[in-house]
Symmetry: C2
Subunit: 210 residues, 2 copies
């Protein structure tokens, strides 16, 4: 189930259809979230629904596969940020990238917010990897004295979702890049030293329950 094998006994047109389905799925969940119909995906991919089920067995499996790809890209982004020399810039860039990824794909945003059903093992693994990367980025920024002490890496993660739904409010239109303003304000607010100490319990990591 990983990807397309050149010579795996699978016919060439079948492999091509598989590829198209993955592309169409990405686009569909980006625009409309995880609640896409199989027919929509298949039509966008230029195939029939039968082909979708034949190639992936389940709509779920196809969605899982597409989402996993998005997570892998996030992991790449995290690695790239960790290589930046300046601790603050590294953290700030990742926050901006993560916020942008959330905005680029409504489906991704739905998955990172999911707390009900347990994710696939593959997704859980990526999730932990991302947590660790953010923890490290945060730790460095703390050590450099750039990030206020009362902001935890969990706070950083949650703040990355803050620009998700800030395009319109009471007749005001943020414009295509307005969300970046919100992220900029947030980053300024996270910079040391903070003015108003953060109150209440810090966010906690949910154990990946059964």
């Amino acid at each position: 189930m990983p990807d397309l094998d050149p010579a795996s006994g699978v016919r060439a047109d079948a492999r091509q259809n598989r590829r198209q389905l993955i592309i169409a799925t990405r686009e569909a969940i980006a625009a409309r979230g995880l609640d896409v119909s199989a027919l929509d995906i298949a039509t966008a991919a230029g195939v029939g629904v039968g082909t979708l089920y034949r190639r992936f067995g389940t709509k779920e499996a196809l969605l899982d596969y597409a989402v996993l790809g998005l997570y892998d890209e996030l992991c790449d982004t995290a690695r790239a940020c960790l290589e930046r020399p300046d601790p603050w810039d590294a953290m700030a860039e990742f926050v901006l990238e993560l916020a942008g990824a959330h905005r680029d794909s409504r489906g991704l945003a739905e998955v990172t917010a999911a707390c009900e059903r347990p994710p696939t093992p593959e997704l859980a693994q990526r999730t932990v990897a991302l947590q660790e990367a953010v923890a490290q980025l945060t730790e460095r920024a703390h050590a450099a004295g750039d990030l206020r002490a009362d902001v935890t890496w969990q706070d950083v993660l949650l703040c990355s979702r803050a620009a998700l739904d800030t395009d319109h409010c009471l007749g005001v239109d943020a414009g295509p890049d307005g969300w970046r303003r919100v992220v900029m304000v947030l980053l300024d607010g996270m910079r040391a030293p903070g003015r108003t100490p953060l109150q209440g319990p810090a966010p906690q990591v949910r154990p990946p329950e059964a």
Copy 2:
């Protein structure tokens, strides 16, 4: 259609049902947004669907009425904040209240973000009133030198939606009051002087198109 009249030729039980329907509608849209079924509302109110349509004519009319009530409450809140002596505290409190109202009612959040269909005239009027209140709160904070100059009142409004969807991210749980931390970070980021100048065009007011 405004409210319940003591002696309006309408029978007492009918008036009571009307009241229950409004209460149930508020709770329903708070929890599930505007996409509630008429049956759900009627059941929660303890009446049949027929009663809903008899009392309000349309599901839409009932929803509009319930939402208008939420807007009126926001206007009250704005008035109260405008009476606070300290300009910064006044603005900060309103941001916190607006963010809380958005979180308390998913339906309200959906309406304030709506940019497609034109609102009812009543809603449009409340919207303008709220815009003016925020503009005034912002202006005072600017004048006092507490709010950074590159943050407009439109930015303030948009930022009030930032805590809408920050309860969970990649396995991190913000807890019941975690959203307040996000708002606090934002408010700190809005305080003068800003570090990173906000880039890009400032948010614009959408003309209430036809």
